[in-house]
Homo-oligomer: 402 residues x 2
């Protein structure tokens, strides 16, 4: 194979990745456990919410017209004719002119009433209630269907469910929530120099940082990571492990192989067992990335440098996962900032720069992509698009937060 | 009890909550599963990282002085005397004057070499390598301990572990990561009007939205939520369920009870079984909050309105959880914005306003705190401090994102 890669643009690589993404599969989870998952179906309200006019205060249900002009010195005098109990509707409860009924917060507004007066603005004298403040029509009332109306589409599929959404789903009767299944993502670390975290490295060896980093990121992103340990850079080990991982996973990531020999091995094995779709992306760091397919499943060869692997994860693998999850509007956590210094870039490739953000100013943290410490000292990434020769100090940038 | 609560300031309520927080307990988890957890001990690097000088490119290990002035038209001619293999140190490998050795990315820099030249800038003619570009001292080399030095404190306890941190922890030999145990948080929903999500509400009934919302939020925040279902507003049910939940949990949240009767019941039961420390906070929404203690464990009475319960969760319960988790610098996801309109507020209480953020402009989404839809339509909260009569249009605000 050539020593020079034929690189393609990031947008093209993303399009390839999205195209080979397996379709989302659905499952249901209890509403208590749905937060962070991706909704797999549109959800409609099965009833009006609330289902009846309710008081939002503790006080008296009144006819607002009976309270016109009421004040502390000249209260309206109303006859209390009952008490609303929580949790039901007493259809005999109703008020006529100059009558009122005690109502707790959340209680069913009795017939004839159109407002509620807070108990703090009332005084009780036997069955007579002194109302010291006028109530306007609808005051302190939550109207039937004011929150959601029966049949309304409350959420559209593809939404990442928040804790508040879980509350709304419960209110809509969605006790079992249809969500996208978590994709199972295999991680195979490769490299003769790699040892696991539990081993003290000998001279020439390093511990595998990418495996745990990828697993942790994938778990946070809503996948089920499955580690296949560390394999040596020989063809037989490669083929055996891929043959094991592909049927067990929805997507397989080969991590490591930063040297050309290793990359060639990864490419050769993917080519032999399936096909290579992309080999080289106009992306820095992250150029020597491989996108392939084996038995219809996406298989990626990620660069071995931790920073490079991480950028490829964010820029290329994430859109594919969004497709696998059916996620419509990925929540990219980003903040605007002003660039603190000039950053030169190479036209023709998309460049991701690690930055520290302080008081709204983004400062690049340059460092070899083999270093881990810039990944943990930085707050996120800024992207310099492919057509730019760089960004000037003072530019507005969007920082993709870790 | 009085119909008026004796409210205390938010800061005082938080101090009370933090004071009764149980101390963090430690456990260890595999490094692959540590992201999102709170580190329970300081972590030091057990070796230099990397443990040896490494090449960051595929190419030739050289003496930089041998390449001075090299160019395409006038290359330096070096004798290739070997090949670095990955994963070990061949102590016989060394270069002398005008010699070089092939080295893959990540390879152990052989004795005598002080730089690496990318293979792209070389040409091979038998054992002679043409070097077409000068290399400076240290070029393309990652120095031993350049990333982290043995004995360095790499992370301090109390940090929320990111996926990148997981990579660094692995590199530091931390295969089993000491983290804070997840607090078990009991959730008891109370209210005669409440039915679970699976039941179609009768007139006067509403579905319990707070229970699932609290459970979902707690799970995302790193706790183990434990639901105790919905109980009726009678003293016996209350006492039974509290007697069951307190020994099983580290913290118990009673949700619901928006009416004064319900709040009184909650307060009476907590007072009878333990003690009440706070009853009423200068917080809007969220005033009728109860903080108590039973058998040494914190027990909260949260307001029943969903928006109120959520604000209390963010403003009061979260600092307590941070204490229980030993979290030092909570990651408050917030973004700066400009306020789009004036917001009046009542001096003397801290007020949280739900806002929508669009293009850097925050616009309040006013709505009764009994509504769920404002919680899901808003992007987050802004806080108006207790001493303010409001905030003016154009003010810079910090939006706490959901």
């Amino acid at each position: 194979m050539s020593r020079f890669l034929t690189v393609i643009a990031v947008t093209d690589a993303v399009a390839v990745a999205e195209k080979i993404a397996p379709a989302p599969k659905m499952e249901t989870v209890p509403v208590d456990q749905c937060a962070g998952r991706i909704l797999a179906q549109d959800i409609t309200a099965d009833t009006d919410i609330p289902g009846f006019d309710r008081s939002v205060v503790d006080g008296y249900a009144v006819r607002s017209s009976d309270t016109t002009g009421a004040s502390g010195s000249s209260p309206a005098l109303l006859q209390c004719v009952g008490r609303v109990m929580m949790g039901g509707r007493d259809s005999t409860l109703a008020i006529g002119n100059t009558e009122c009924i005690y109502i707790p917060t959340g209680g069913f507004l009795p017939a004839g009433a159109d407002a509620a007066v807070m108990v703090e603005y009332t005084e009780k004298a036997g069955d007579t209630i002194l109302i010291k403040k006028p109530a306007s029509h609808g005051e302190n009332i939550l109207l039937k269907d004011e929150d959601f109306r029966k049949g309304d589409t409350v959420f559209f599929k593809g939404r990442k469910i928040t804790p508040q959404d879980a509350g709304v789903l419960a209110a809509c009767g969605c006790a079992a929530v249809p969500v996208a299944q978590k994709p199972v993502v295999g991680i195979i670390s490769t490299g003769n120099e790699l040892v696991p975290a539990s081993v003290v490295p000998e001279p020439g060896q390093v511990r595998d940082a990418n495996g745990p980093m990828l697993a942790a990121w994938l778990a946070e992103y809503g996948c089920i990571p499955r580690r296949y340990g560390i394999i040596r850079d020989d063809r037989e080990s490669f083929e055996m492990m891929i043959a094991k991982a592909v049927p067990e996973c929805d997507l397989v990531l080969l991590s490591g192989g930063s040297s050309k020999d290793d990359r060639d091995m990864t490419a050769a094995v993917i080519a032999a067992k399936g096909e290579i779709l992309v080999h080289g992306i106009a992306l820095a760091p992250g150029k020597p990335t491989i996108i392939g397919k084996i038995d219809g499943k996406p298989v990626f060869g990620l660069p071995g440098h931790p920073a490079s692997a991480f950028v490829v994860l964010i820029a290329i693998v994430r859109p594919l996962l969004d497709r696998m999850l059916g996620q419509k509007r990925p929540l990219l956590r980003s903040i605007p900032a002003i660039l603190g210094v000039n950053i030169p870039s190479q036209r023709g490739r998309e460049e991701y720069v690690r930055v520290v953000v302080d008081q709204g100013v983004a400062t690049p943290l340059f460092g070899k992509s083999g270093l881990l410490n810039t990944l943990v000292k930085s707050d996120g990434l800024i992207c310099i698009p492919a057509g730019y020769e760089g960004l000037e100090k003072g530019s507005r940038v969007e920082v993709i937060l870790w």
